[in-house]
Subunit: 144 residues, 2 copies
Amino acid sequence: MEVSVKGEYALRAVFDLACHQQEQPIKIAKIAERQQIPQKFLELILSQLKQGGFLSSRRGAEGGYFLARPAESITIGDILRHIDGPIAPARRLQQDDLPEDSPFPELWEKVERALSSVLDRMSFADLVVRWKENRAKRVVNWQI
Amino acid sequence: MEVSVKGEYALRAVFDLACHQQEQPIKIAKIAERQQIPQKFLELILSQLKQGGFLSSRRGAEGGYFLARPAESITIGDILRHIDGPIAPARRLQQDDLPEDSPFPELWEKVERALSSVLDRMSFADLVVRWKENRAKRVVNWQI
DNA sequence: TCGATTCTCTACTAATCTACTAGAGATTGG
DNA sequence: CCAATCTCTAGTAGATTAGTAGAGAATCGA
């Protein structure tokens, strides 16, 4: 049931871009440094996210990546599906040679709905809000 | 996010045993045939499930496997965790080098709760009930 | 007791996937 | 033009997956 490291990197990268939405394009090197991701690996991931229409980029000096759409319209599920493939816990192919009355397809559908209810409802705008809340909380604790 | 083939086989095997709870021990060969699982692979899986305390067995002629506990007390989550490892989508180790105010740990906890709410609430007794319902429905449709 | 049956245990393996790295090429800003 | 930066194609070491092979140990029925 694990999300791949690549998937986690992708989420962290998009989150990083969502946090700097208003600014200039962000360089790969900057994201790699801030998010602790191997730069060459991150290049592949960002390129793949661009193919998927989530990011745009500019080359050359002062180039970099930025969100192609507002953070509110990109969900965790969108990114994970594009990088790691279907969220579904069971592969469709194998379902076919189960007996017609098997209870398992129902089970997997339930699981998928449960996952979707979290992953497809949570946008990167939500994540940024949470992040700001966490920072605020920490500052308050620190002041006490 | 995929369950391994081994995990699926384990679930199907336990389900098979749950369907034949009252009877004699069931032979590996019988389960392998009914559930379409490579027999030698299934041997390893059943042995592992026995180590986990879910199944008991008897060797020799008329031997086989049977549930060590009532089907109501064994959940999908129990079996998956024992065969595939933790249900959690993100590994704990990597969480440590995230910044303290990262919104991701919260996200993964939400996902884990969502998964648990399905996997840990569904027992094999429930599965058997669903299976019988499905069979009944099919018969009704067939009669019409 | 014998022998057929069935589970048990250890070891091996081919193929695939994961998490990268290397390096050359294409664009762009100044 | 040139330095910075993204882009694209390849390769790859190590781990994991989904098995297979084969000998050994326990049990039942006759």
